[in-house]
Symmetry: C2
Subunit: 234 residues, 2 copies
């Protein structure tokens, strides 16, 4: 409970004495929030499940009711950083819009969700721990998202060649995904989420792919996102 | 010595029995190489000065002759990632070349040195430890480099407006530095340095800033780098 030792038994679902101090409406969400804070501010290796339980104000045994081990918590957090954009790529697949509009929508949405997250979890992508087989499933999901970006970007490059006769730098389709994830370093350096990036990065991606005249693409992308039930940009 | 305990005394400068297994021509360079490997493959928090000394094959006391503490080693490694591009920005300052040529040269050189480094040290930029006052000096150096990038990029944007009448996305001058540092994530994901990025990223930066016709800029940038005594691209 933060105030250690005041509560001796705390089964799942039992009302707690101390008020909740954490974001999240369920114990699971509170554990994830506390772990995300500790992993990003103290480091993953330096954080114990005991420390996470203390930060939530529950006993370690209660934490183990929700997660077997620290790496399960990390996996859940990491998957949370790619699950929404991955869902969006599925929804976009069936749409007849031009690739530029789909890519703009994906970039804008992904930047916004990386900015909106309470903790800068992408900073954990470079942990050496992530290279172990334990995180293969997460790596596969992030690879899948990366491939969606690359496929859409290659389609935009082809559209630009067809419509404007202009060729982009060969291999440029790998860079939109990287520009989106640069939100993570910007957020780390600036100490806060760069909300200006929700407009800047999609526009810069279009420009990088040689797609001039971003205004029409932006408007079409926002319309598409709204129609698919995704929140509008601020 | 790797083979622990065979050597009981190892003062600095004394010849060693076991052959060197590390990159680097001096004990200091060997310590840095071993630490870079351990920090990037095992994690910073999980690495001890004892582990570094063991990896070099020296006693911990000998390591302390070169570095007082683990954070001194990290600082030296981090500074090594920005020192060469910072020197280049100084050399570029006095040059009369257009901003596009200078920026192209800086991006190309910086990508190449991030690729050429034996370990992917930029992966350590997001460590929570780096936010402590201990690393203020390094943060200041990296900020200085970032500001150089932003100033040059803003000049390129102004050149493009003047020469081609085309305006870029407002704020785009913050992104070339981020695109350069995306080499770090690419390298982490692909498991090797993306040497194709030495051409791709400078070209994409120019395109992103609206500077079409990259070939002349590239040739001029390579000439400038050669004249300043910097190695040519592969």
């Amino acid at each position: 409970m933060g105030e250690n030792g005041r509560v001796t038994s705390l089964g799942p679902g039992r009302p707690r004495i101390a008020p909740r101090r954490r974001e999240g409406r369920t114990p699971r969400a509170e554990i994830l929030d506390a772990a995300a804070e500790l992993f990003t501010t103290q480091g993953y290796a330096s954080t114990s499940t005991r420390g996470i339980a203390d930060a939530v104000g529950i006993r370690q045994a209660s934490l183990y009711h929700h997660f077997h081990a620290k790496d399960d918590i990390l996996e859940a957090l990491l998957e949370g950083t790619v699950s929404q954009p991955l869902e969006l790529t599925e929804a976009l697949r069936a749409e007849p819009a031009p690739a530029a509009v789909k890519l703009y929508a994906l970039v804008r949405f992904d930047v916004a969700q990386l900015c909106a997250a309470r903790w800068n979890l992408g900073a954990l992508y470079l942990l050496p721990e992530l290279r172990s087989p334990r995180f293969e499933s997460f790596r596969r999901q992030r690879d899948e998202l990366r491939e969606h970006y690359e496929r859409l970007a290659a389609e935009v490059v082809a559209e630009v060649v067809a419509e404007q006769g202009r060729a982009s730098a060969p291999g440029v389709e790998v860079l939109p995904f990287r520009l989106v994830e640069s939100v993570i370093s910007i957020r780390s350096d600036e100490g806060r989420a760069p909300e200006y990036a929700e407009r800047l990065i999609p526009d810069a991606v279009m420009q990088m792919l040689g797609r001039s005249g971003g205004d029409d693409v932006r408007a079409a992308a926002e319309e598409l996102l709204a129609r698919l039930g995704y929140p509008r940009a601020r």
